[in-house]
Every structure is written in structure tokens, then in C-alpha cells.
Symmetry: C2
Amino acid sequence: MTEEIRFDENGLVPAVVQDYKSGRVLMVAYMNAEALQRTRETGQTWFFSRRRNCLWMKGETSGHRQKVKQMMYDCDRDALLILVEQTGAACHTGHYSCFYQDLEGNEVENKLVDPALMYATG
Amino acid sequence: MTEEIRFDENGLVPAVVQDYKSGRVLMVAYMNAEALQRTRETGQTWFFSRRRNCLWMKGETSGHRQKVKQMMYDCDRDALLILVEQTGAACHTGHYSCFYQDLEGNEVENKLVDPALMYATG
């Protein structure tokens, strides 16, 4: 239950997003209580942007949405794991996963789409 | 590279640990620069405990260690993904993964081992 989630001092909890089919970890983002509520109500992932200080729906501009399949919390109730059906690329760079570089800076995954096309208008 | 990782205002970065074989997300924990350095040097996962305010090696008392297979950072360089070979259970509760409950509080995974045995001495 939402009220059992232990949000941090900024009212946020980290959410790990994983593709339910491939098992690939796609991204880590943060939810506040409202983002979590919207995610549960809509079945699409919503997050809180710490940089922009606002709620955002994943794929709102790119169309690369995440349909929620299952949501779990961990033993400490201070982290979420969200299994999703990912449309297109999860990363704004056009990569399927945001984790596309190893610690040596090598790309371990090619781009799925051209990022210029992800956010093209009209 | 370590110097490129964007640690937060507390000098920490969240690390998602995933079983490299099963693809199961096992836990989320935090690393400071020293924990990351020890992880890279030893090939075993080290974390920083926010509650106990100290470094700890995963499996130090339980023996349920994590051998590092691959480490990645994300597009923002403020989260890590660590693929590991997990010995035994990752969770202190005896569950294979710390994410063993869905948001309704249902256990989605049975215990792998008796936690009393994980931390037994002698």
C-alpha cells in the first residue's frame, strides 16, 4: 500500500523499471506519492523529476510509454520495482535501456531509434 | 569511470543489483566512492549503509556474496546497474530477491532459506 512506502526526506522513492519480457533493467527514476498514485490509477508510469521539479508521464512527448505489469516494493519499503511493457526505447538517447554504458564508458548496447525522431513534432 | 559518476549531496549513488543469469532484480543499495572502488577492486559488492553509516560487504556475515559480472551506469550517470552471480539469497529475510512483495502486500516469491540459518554463528 502507498501509505506503507517509506519515502525519503524529499518525499521520493527510487523506482527501478524493468522490461517484463526481456528482463532488461531500463531505468531508475523517482516517484513521489502523487506519481505513485497516478501510476496505479492509469497503469502507465509517472515519475517526479528532481531537476524540473514536476510530475511527468513516461512517453508523454516521445510516445515511448511504459504499461505497468506488476509493482513490487523491497524488504525495507524504500525502493520500488516496476515491471513494464516498454514501447520503443526507454532512454531519451534512443537506447532501449538507460544503462547502455559500462564503467569504462563502452557502449554495451546500440541505439534502438534516432533520438531526433523520438521528440520530433508535427 | 568513478570520477564521472554523479554522487548525490550525501556522496551516494543508488545501485540496482541484478542476477546475471535469471535477470531477477535482487536489491537496491547505495554506494559511495569508496564502496564503488572496493567493489571494482575485489569483484564483490560493497555498499554504504545509510542507517549504520558504514561500509559493508554483501554476504560478509551471511556468506551470501555477490560476484560482480558487469557494471553499468545510466545516461545521467547517477545510477548504477550491477550484474552479479548471487550466492544463496540476496535478502536478509531469506528471500532470493528483496522485491518479494507486490504493492498489495502479497508475497510473490517464497523464501529460499531460513534467515535464522543465514546469520547463525559457529
